[in-house]
């Protein structure tokens, strides 16, 4: 008994003392969550680099009501069609965040990295230096860090090189190994994802910041909306898609691969894409605090747009309606003549490790999606 208690106690204390993220740890509860912010907090720490979205997909499945009929495609996208009704609105969000892959292991145990997709902003590589990262190995999530030279021994030339001419050749990830064999013994393999440490920052006025926060928030809003609509008659025929590999382009197209794959798999007639757009970047950009952003793929009447605008009005939620915007995911549907609309969260410092969003926008997007689907305006 004493030793059992000791083990329990030790486990509890170890858990309480842990300061780093443990994204791979499974939680037993699988209750439906309709609170977008709660879903966001649950999924935010889960790494989901392009082509490696399986951990996030599993987490979303875990959070949605038991018995939900999920489907997948061979890219890793997750599909949930509600009810037996005629295909109606399809609501999608991207699961993948930007990240690096392990491209090699040096003889002294450091990892080199490569970029499989374009970075969110050109300076993104510099965000690796001197900060902790996560390395997603098949044995679990490892803590690592982007090596930074000691400041005391940094020459002027080296300092200028780091400031102005940084290349991936100068970046090494330290996972605490002293040799290639040690790194491999930790489970590190070539192509393992390397992503930013998921540090969620709480700001004033109901704002929050973190890496890939806008994209994770869009995913969370979609999950919260879906969670509330499962089993409702009005939602029958609606399909929800958490897309994988949207940061890659489909061969021969500028549209995102994940979106093209979803389009070809389910042939939707009407699409609502949940996304993120840069805020506070000049006169024509949306502002943080102005509510979710709405724009459509093609000019002209749109049943999806009408449904979204009516839902926002019904809920008393502000929208920022913009024109002239597009995204690679939107292109995939608009180019095929599909009625496609984007409902996006505005994000300040978009594409940096501290994307800032408003908490209330997460729930606003979830509520608008729920009301738009429940209204039955898109059939």
């Amino acid at each position: 008994m004493k030793s059992t208690l000791g083990i329990i106690l030790a486990a509890a204390l170890t858990s309480a003392a842990a300061t780093g993220p443990i994204p791979g740890r499974a939680k037993p509860a699988a209750r439906p969550l309709t609170d977008g912010l709660a879903v966001l907090e649950a999924i935010f720490p889960v790494p989901s680099m392009t082509g490696n979205e399986e951990r996030l997909a599993a987490k979303i499945r875990q959070l949605l009501p038991g018995g939900s009929a999920f489907d997948r495609d061979n890219l890793g996208s997750l599909y949930l069609k509600l009810g037996p009704g005629e295909p109606a609105l399809t609501v999608l969000a991207a699961m993948d965040e930007f990240g690096y892959v392990v491209s090699g292991i040096t003889a002294d145990g450091y990892l080199t990295v490569d970029r499989p997709t374009a970075p969110p902003v050109p300076i993104y590589d510099s965000f690796l230096i001197g900060h902790p990262v996560l390395v997603s190995s098949n044995r679990g999530i490892l803590h690592g860090l982007g090596v930074q030279p000691a400041m005391h021994v940094l020459t002027k030339e080296r300092r200028e090189q780091l400031a102005s001419n940084l290349t991936l050749d100068m970046i090494f990830i330290d996972v605490g190994a002293r040799s290639e064999a040690e790194a491999r013994a930790k489970g590190v393999e070539i192509l393992d994802p390397v992503t930013q440490w998921p540090d969620l920052v709480s700001l004033a006025n109901g704002r929050m910041a973190g890496p890939a926060l806008g994209q994770k928030a869009a995913c969370a809003a979609l999950a919260a909306a879906a969670s509330g609509l499962v089993g409702t008659e009005s939602a029958a025929g609606t399909t929800f898609v958490w897309m994988a590999q949207t940061r890659l382009s489909a061969r021969g197209e500028r549209a995102s691969l994940g979106a093209v794959r979803a389009r070809n798999k389910i042939a939707p007639k009407a699409v609502l894409l949940l996304d993120v757009v840069a805020a506070d970047r000049g006169e024509k950009s949306p502002v943080l605090g102005g509510g979710p952003v709405l724009f459509q793929g093609q000019e002209g009447p749109s049943a999806v747009r009408e449904a979204v605008e009516s839902a926002a009005k019904e809920k008393g939620l502000a929208l920022q309606v913009l024109t002239g915007l597009s995204t690679p995911a939107l292109s995939a549907f608009a180019a095929a003549g599909i009625d496609a609309v984007v409902l996006a969260l505005p994000a300040k410092f978009a594409g940096t490790p501290s994307e800032v969003i408003e908490k209330k926008d997460v729930q606003a997007v979830a509520d608008i999606v729920s009301a738009a689907v429940a209204s039955g305006r898109v059939k």
């Binding site: 900060h131 902790p132 982007g146 400031a163 330290d174």
Partner: protein, 365 residues
């Protein structure tokens, strides 16, 4: 009956948890002390919380003192030689300087960081009302194809406020200390990286060593253990101590700036992490006489304590005592990525340092 048994079990578990929590709070392990003290905020000039934390854990029976600059120390024994051990408690950081009409907070940087490592990263302002989190503004053209380099000054923090009044309502005041939001990366059993390992590892090691000594039995020598302020901004705390203390030997307990990484030249500064404590024989402020160095090497050998001898850069608190007649022998651990947000330390090195400090306290001739 079953309910009563269950209640008894819960009570037992509750008291066991209380006991374990109390035991945990009074840990004497250098590693556990480091993991706790590294999280206590204390930039140069605002070290009070760190000093309070250390003072609360000092060995029973010693008389803790503070001087005018808030250096913390205690002494035991009497006569000569006088051995002084000093670790600095301050860390790199910034202070609040002013506000913009848009509600961002302008900071005064005190140097030491790689500027672009601060860009778009979270920091914490420690106000009298509690911590307030913020994000360092990225360069204005951060999303441009060819942006300008991130500039050193002025650092500006976005806290979510939209006006100066909103920012002030959060409790932020000019002079508040601002530090990087610390995250502890565990790179394996006994290897961690975070901000302020320099010199909280030294603070923890000196404290852990002190906790192993029966101070009432120190005879034929005077031993002083000190935790200094303002090392990072000019060895100011040590200079204050030097006004009244004239030790024969001073052992600065501080980081050995190691070049044990793939991005550094190993011509100097190479002490391997995991290779043991370091005798910092030469740095930017001090050169240890070889015969004195050999005494410590011999002592470590007799105690089977792994040590490395190396030279690097940076100053140390002990150097301000040299002009007064002291021999400065800095005792260190190899620290990689010094003055970054991921200063890396190996538990084995810290254990060796703690053992070496204890050995010097007890046996140094």
């Amino acid at each position: 009956m079953r309910e009563r048994n269950r209640g008894t079990g819960y009570r037992a578990l509750f008291f066991l948890i209380l006991w374990a929590a109390a035991a945990s709070a009074q840990t004497t392990s250098d590693w556990d002390l480091l993991r706790q003290v590294v999280l206590v905020p204390g930039i140069s000039g605002q070290e009070a919380k760190v000093m309070d934390w250390i003072e609360a854990r000092l060995p029973k029976g010693v008389e803790a003192k503070r001087d005018a600059k808030n250096n913390l120390f205690f002494s035991a024994g009497q006569g000569r030689p006088h051995l002084l051990f000093v670790a600095h408690a301050d860390e790199l950081g910034m202070t609040v300087e002013s506000f913009t009409p848009q509600g961002t907070v302008k900071l005064r940087g005190r140097g030491g960081f790689l500027p672009q490592a601060c860009e778009a990263r979270p920091f914490v302002i420690h106000t009298s009302k509690g911590p307030v989190e913020g994000v360092m503004l990225p360069r204005p053209d951060y999303d441009a194809r060819a942006p300008k380099p991130f500039s050193l000054e002025p650092y500006e923090l976005y806290v979510g406020a939209s006006s100066e009044a909103e920012a002030k309502a959060l409790g932020i005041e000019a002079g508040d200390q601002v530090i990087f939001k610390k995250k502890t990366a565990d790179l394996g059993p006994g290897i961690m990286a975070t901000r302020a390992v320099d010199d909280r590892a030294g603070c923890a090691s000196l404290l852990a060593a002190a906790l192993t000594v029966d101070w009432s039995k120190i005879k034929g020598r005077t031993v002083t253990c000190a935790w200094s302020v303002e090392e990072e901004v000019g060895l100011n705390g040590a200079a204050e101590l030097a006004k009244t203390m004239k030790p024969d030997y001073v052992f600065a307990i501080d980081t050995f700036v190691s070049t044990d990484s793939p991005v550094e030249n190993k011509r100097f500064g190479y002490a391997r992490l995991g290779g043991g404590a370091v005798l910092r024989a030469l740095d930017s402020s001090n050169l240890v006489p070889k015969d004195e160095l050999r005494k410590v090497i011999g002592l470590a050998a007799r105690r089977n304590i792994p040590v490395q001898v190396a030279n690097s850069r940076g100053g140390n608190d002990g150097s301000v005592f040299v002009a007064g007649g002291a021999v400065d022998i800095p005792l260190s651990w190899p620290g990689a990525h010094a003055h970054s947000f991921v200063e890396k330390v190996d538990r084995r090195d810290l254990a060796a340092l703690t053992a070496l400090i204890r050995a010097v306290i007890m046996e140094f001739e």
